[in-house]
Symmetry: C2
DNA sequence: AGGTTATATGAAAACGTTTTCAGTCATCGC
DNA sequence: GCGATGACTGAAAACGTTTTCATATAACCT
């Protein structure tokens, strides 16, 4: 029914081995190569990638495991990863974990069954630990969240510095009662919080931080509760784009002016953050470079499996806008 | 090196056939099934999906081909598709075409080589035509853009009605010089434009529409040019979320008030559209249902390959906000 | 010329499963 | 008590490639 390499070989009057070599890179005379190519066109042959992968033991596939593709940060990184992968002739399997350790474990098992070439992974804290305890059969590059050091290559933002930078900026603007609302599941949020708290201490200020599930809905609820308290903070540091959006929405709902009643500073320079009044101060992450560097680390790890673990730390760029302007 | 089904069979003291049956659904006695499961645990066996796919001739994979995952509409649809696919034990291969016919053709060929179970595809006009001319080996469900009727199952928005609805609303608000800025590559944009023009004609108004490459940057440039003209329109209909964003940005840059100087109405109820002053009037697409319906059509097509072609038309929901309020 | 090396090709093995096919054993109906 | 039926199980074939291995031919070197 379906045309296979034997049919092409018969049509070209050669062996299947020659067809295989002509299609890949193998020593084949120009004459035969042309015969084969003509036969391929004539028969409409399409190689069967499953068979190819099975025999050659090279899946040419990388797994990309993120929390939720709808988070614009992951959307952008995914696009960069996919471009790099397809450019190298590789497929990408994208998986959404919703920050659920059970789903993370399931997808990691799936990646083993696919015999993937490698995996790029933004793990929860739980997954990072178990990944360290029992390293999988394939190379892993962690993105966004590094977890405990030393186990896997990773590319992350300099989160403590970014968190501290936002505090410094706010303090410079004259704010002192600065709260922090951070995601509860990732090491990234923990690091940003650490940077926040260190900077507050450095300025002799009292840190006041809370954690929340990293999605816009619960963040909005938490922020609304906080901002309705009598001693609400003058400014809020928000640990990612979703939480920032939730906080802004809470402020709007409560009728609080930004930055008059409460200043906001967050992460992820999404396209809408400069369209919303008065513009949101954010730390921009180099999303394309995060994806590209992750692919680079992955391929270098594949080429040299025993080289020491590497951690690429990228700096964020603080984009100052109206939401943190004093007065 | 790597543990295969033969190792499991040896450890369990049974044949590979029995292991295969115990792991899948086959007639195996409870005693042997338990032996096999114990052996799987003991050996750490992971089935090789390439081998499984090759032998069983079932890839359990669907292709999802969209213009750009960074377009929030496609992001949301992708997530819905992936959830549905993984729930059915299928993998998803995501491809970004950037509206480039050459890349579309390349990815379609890739899908054939993967022997995918089916494909969900948002094609450009060019691809829709060639798809109709030479139908591929796998079932295809078109989303967002149906192309010429009759060739493939599809699930689309009622674009003419949505485009007309925005015009009706604007006219109801007292606007009459209403321009339209539409994407240049998709049938969707053409349909929305047709709805716009029909509605304008119905109201006895002069339509004035332009087309632009569907991305925020070029849309902003085109809108800025248009809004700088002396006889600029009082209101603008924008054919998708990216173009809407570009238009808003152009208005801001030119110092035009919305809706005072120019009213804006567009598509895609993205989270930021109600955060930006004065809130943007948009047609919300049922993104989750589009993804779910596409998967449903695909599976029903697989089950019954010869059933007549079906087209699911979903209604948009017009969300009225300040950007179209008169006065 | 004669042997050595390089190059191109084909036959067949191999990749790791699922599935066919044939068989074993127990149960059942009469 | 005996053929028929049914439920499990194992041996081996099959899926469609790539890769080894062996061979033939051509090219090269002394």
């Amino acid at each position: 029914m379906t045309v296979g390499i034997r049919d092409v070989a018969r049509a070209a009057g050669v062996s299947t081995a020659t067809v295989s070599r002509a299609l890949g890179r193998g020593p084949v005379s120009d004459a035969l190569r042309e015969q084969v190519e003509a036969a391929v066109r004539a028969t409409g042959y399409r190689p069967n990638l499953s068979a190819r992968r099975l025999r050659s033991q090279a899946a040419q596939t990388i797994g990309l495991i993120v929390a939720d593709i709808r988070n614009p940060f992951f959307t952008a990184v995914s696009r960069a990863v996919e471009d790099a992968a397809f450019a190298k002739g590789m497929r990408v399997i994208l998986c959404n974990t919703d920050e659920d350790p059970a789903r993370e474990a399931m997808y990691l098992r799936l990646m083993e069954e696919e015999r993937v070439t490698g995996v790029i992974f933004a793990p929860t804290g739980a997954a990072a630990d178990s990944l360290r305890a029992e390293p999988p059969a394939f190379p892993v590059v962690l993105i966004d969240r590094a977890g405990p050091p030393g186990a896997h290559d990773s590319v992350v933002l300099d989160n403590p510095a970014a968190g501290a930078g936002l505090v410094d900026h706010l303090v410079g603007q004259g704010f002192s009662r600065i709260g922090g609302l951070f995601g509860s599941t990732s090491s990234t949020a923990r690091e940003r919080r650490a940077g926040y708290e260190a900077a507050m201490a450095r300025h002799g200020l009292e840190p006041s931080s809370r954690t929340v599930a990293p999605n816009a809905a619960t963040a909005e609820a938490a922020a609304a509760r906080w901002l309705a308290e009598s001693d609400r903070p003058e400014a809020l540091v928000l640990s990612n784009g979703l939480i920032l959006m939730g906080a802004l929405r809470a402020a709007r709902t409560l009728g609080l002016r930004v930055p008059g009643d409460v200043a906001l500073a967050g992460f992820d320079n999404e396209p809408w953050t400069d369209l919303v009044e008065p513009g949101l101060t954010v730390v921009e992450q180099p999303v394309d470079e995060i994806g590209a560097q992750a692919m680079r680390l992955l391929f270098e790890r594949i080429a040299q499996p025993d080289q020491p673990v590497r951690k690429v730390v990228l700096s964020g760029r603080t984009v100052l806008r109206g939401s943190t302007r004093r007065g």
